[in-house]
Symmetry: C2
Subunit: 442 residues, 2 copies
């Protein structure tokens, strides 16, 4: 059996990932709506044989939102544009199940999948900002448990619609006038608690069968959902020990759902800081820490606590008890912050600053960063990584210095394995449920 | 003042416009999900200096739907991909207000507008197939009057969101840490009968200010809506006299709404058949008529009558009385069919066949087709046309033979006037309502 290799994604944020990144001397603050910038980065990532591009999202802003949320491309549209200027790289877009009709979601991802030749992925999220509901004619946002029930049903509908057409349904026989085989076109007729959708979908399956499913679950519900339903999990990493525990847990859950755990990829989002020397890497890291004020650091943290007002607390007292705020919020991140503050007995100021500019294992020379990647990967803390630094030159530096080391060590591909995103991931094309059902009945 | 010039759009349907087009010897039946096909046609249209590409849509199919509805790209995704491989041509997508959240619609068109450098257009439709509701967890489709009230409010919300950011709101001052001017970012706070949307939108205005609005109104409500709110009207043409009457009517309505009627473009969709001789053109036309069976012709017509079952009538008796079916349907088309059948005293069979393969003024040599374009244009039956024949070679033939004649006669541009879609149309960038309001208050 071939050596296990890591999967690499690139998180696309035009003007930087952190709150203050746009202030970095190298940053282009308008990059988040600059298609040329996105195209250039996508092509660098593809030349380096990355598995996929990843576009995050949110559907509600206020004047206090992070600059990189305020003005940016919508995921499906930017990914479709990038499909036209790339050939191999996967295209993963975030889209909330809370505020988009499953028929529209199914169609847009299927269309992206078709126009990219089978390279689409959907990062399924349940929006966690209370404000989102107010952009969608709703009084209140769903609670945490309801959101996961809704997410499961939404995904049922979308994946069901994706199988509307069997792979050989389109006959295109000009002589007889038979465009398709009606026995191979299927209505869904879904009638559930949240959705009633008849179908069929008005677009055929792509070369990869169905788009790849991403998730980011940290709560009990979230981990089960991800382990049961997703092909890849995007994780916010803490330290290696924590990553290993999470990894083991979701793989165990996947096995519990009857899955081969190797078909579920755990992918922490990382922000390597690479210097030609350790000292240069440290200088680059320090340059980031100065970009975010303590006021902004509190606001950044508040996003994971339902916009909780942290300015009411003493900055230099121990981190306040806000566990009750975390319960119906972005639980993975809020619980990680609380745990960090407790473990190291940090003040509110220290916690916020540490969260705004984390110090990770991935700061150093190319060799050191490659070592850290290898340690996390072979140590089963990760199946790969999402590179999360979108300053103009950082991806190039990584591609030019770290990727060749990973390739030399046999940890990362040197050529794409096939043409679709599933080919890159080594995932089989899923059988069409309607084909399976029809053949079983025959 | 410069000579008035016609506007030209290209209707993109991969595998043909008519029901039987995919059976044409030249047709590529899988073209509707073939990105390379779309790219090639888009680039031909741009090389010929067309104003825009137009993507039609529908959100419900059955096994009886026209082949060109069954399997095709979703408009926003294919247009975004085309944005990446074109530089000047406008990108107009159809999207129904009935089943898409205004916040999502505003974002996706704004994102397309940004990534194309200001070339987006939205064809605002109210879905007219009863079945559509069943793909969107709704019991019943809205009635005609309600749909237009909803459309007006939906458009209010979308256009309001598009003005969330004033043009100079993004300051990007790295030294002071001021990313934007909060006085120039505006919530919408819309509270209406159908929608409650807070805003602001999380994407700034594009170089053209707002996407261009298309509409296709034929009923009283529809004509008023188009005349009041749209920049361009897509029309299904009958004869020149009918086109002139429609043209005069909507221009008069536009003036009644206080608009300059010259900023509203009436654009019939046409399917020219061009031959190097009249005889060749006639042969090409006849080749189309044989592609659609009478059974299919009845189904095609049924689409404009809520999928009414026409097989219950005698094919060779006079066209049946189905005016009651037309009332809550695609009124423009259904009323035109009824009027045609009455005026020429046609049987059901004759009406269906005529509708499936219309014989128009636009069949002949390049000179004859250019003459017809000129006659409709200078005779004020149209301000331009949407070329509606997507067989592989027909656009090239038109571009190579008819366009040069129109250009030589001064009726069509030889170079793009600017960089945005509004530049091509000669439409001013609209003032941001929030800027206007803020300056008035100062």
């Amino acid at each position: 059996m071939a050596q296990r290799q890591m999967k690499l994604g690139f998180m696309m944020h035009g003007n930087g990932t952190g709150w203050g990144d746009w202030r970095h001397p190298d940053a282009q603050p308008g990059a988040s709506t600059d298609f040329a910038y996105y195209r250039r980065q996508a092509q660098i990532a593809e030349a380096a044989r990355f598995d996929f591009l990843f576009v995050a999202d949110s559907v509600h802003i206020t004047p206090k939102s992070s600059p990189h949320y305020l003005n940016r491309f919508e995921p499906l549209t930017i990914l479709s544009a990038l499909a036209a200027v790339t050939d191999h790289i996967g295209l993963v877009g975030t889209l909330t199940v809370s505020y988009a009709e499953p028929f529209n979601v199914a169609r847009q991802f299927a269309s992206l999948d078709q126009l990219s030749g089978g390279r689409a992925g959907w990062n399924v999220v349940t929006s966690w900002l209370e404000g989102s509901a107010r952009n969608y004619s709703r009084e209140k946002h769903y609670d945490h448990a309801t959101r996961y029930r809704l997410a499961a049903e939404h995904l049922d509908v979308v994946q069901g619609l994706w199988d509307s057409w069997e792979d050989d349904a389109l006959v295109h026989d000009k002589a007889s006038g038979r465009f398709f085989d009606p026995d191979k076109l299927h209505r869904l007729d879904h009638r559930g608690d949240f959705f009633q959708v008849e179908g069929p979908l008005n677009i055929a399956r792509s070369p990869q069968g169905q788009p790849v499913i991403f998730q980011a679950g940290a709560s009990e519900d979230g981990r089960d959902f991800a382990a049961a339903r997703s092909d890849a999990i995007f994780v916010q990493p803490g330290d290696l020990a924590g990553a290993q525990a999470y990894y083991a847990d979701v793989k165990r859950r996947a096995a519990g759902f009857g899955r081969d755990p190797d078909t579920l990829f755990v992918l922490p989002g990382l922000r390597p800081v690479i210097g030609s020397t350790e000292a240069e890497a440290e200088r680059k890291y320090q340059a980031f820490t100065g970009l975010t004020s303590i006021e902004d650091a509190l606001l950044i943290m508040a996003r994971s606590f339902n916009e909780h007002d942290f300015s009411q607390y003493d900055l230099d007292a121990p981190f306040p008890d806000v566990a009750h705020v975390a319960a119906n919020s972005n639980r993975s991140t809020s619980e990680r912050i609380i745990a960090l503050a407790r473990a190291e007995n940090l003040t509110l100021r220290q916690t916020a600053q540490r969260f705004a500019t984390p110090r990770t294992d991935f700061i150093g020379t190319p060799e050191q960063v490659a070592d850290a990647f290898g340690r996390w990967f072979t140590g089963r803390g990760a199946d790969g990584f999402v590179f999360n630094n979108s300053l103009p030159d950082e991806l190039s530096v990584f591609a030019d210095t770290v990727v060749p080391i990973l390739q030399a060590r046999g940890l990362f591909r040197t050529e794409y394995e096939g043409t679709t995103f599933r080919d890159s991931l080594g995932l089989a094309k899923p059988a069409n449920r309607n084909t399976t059902r029809r053949l079983a009945a025959e």
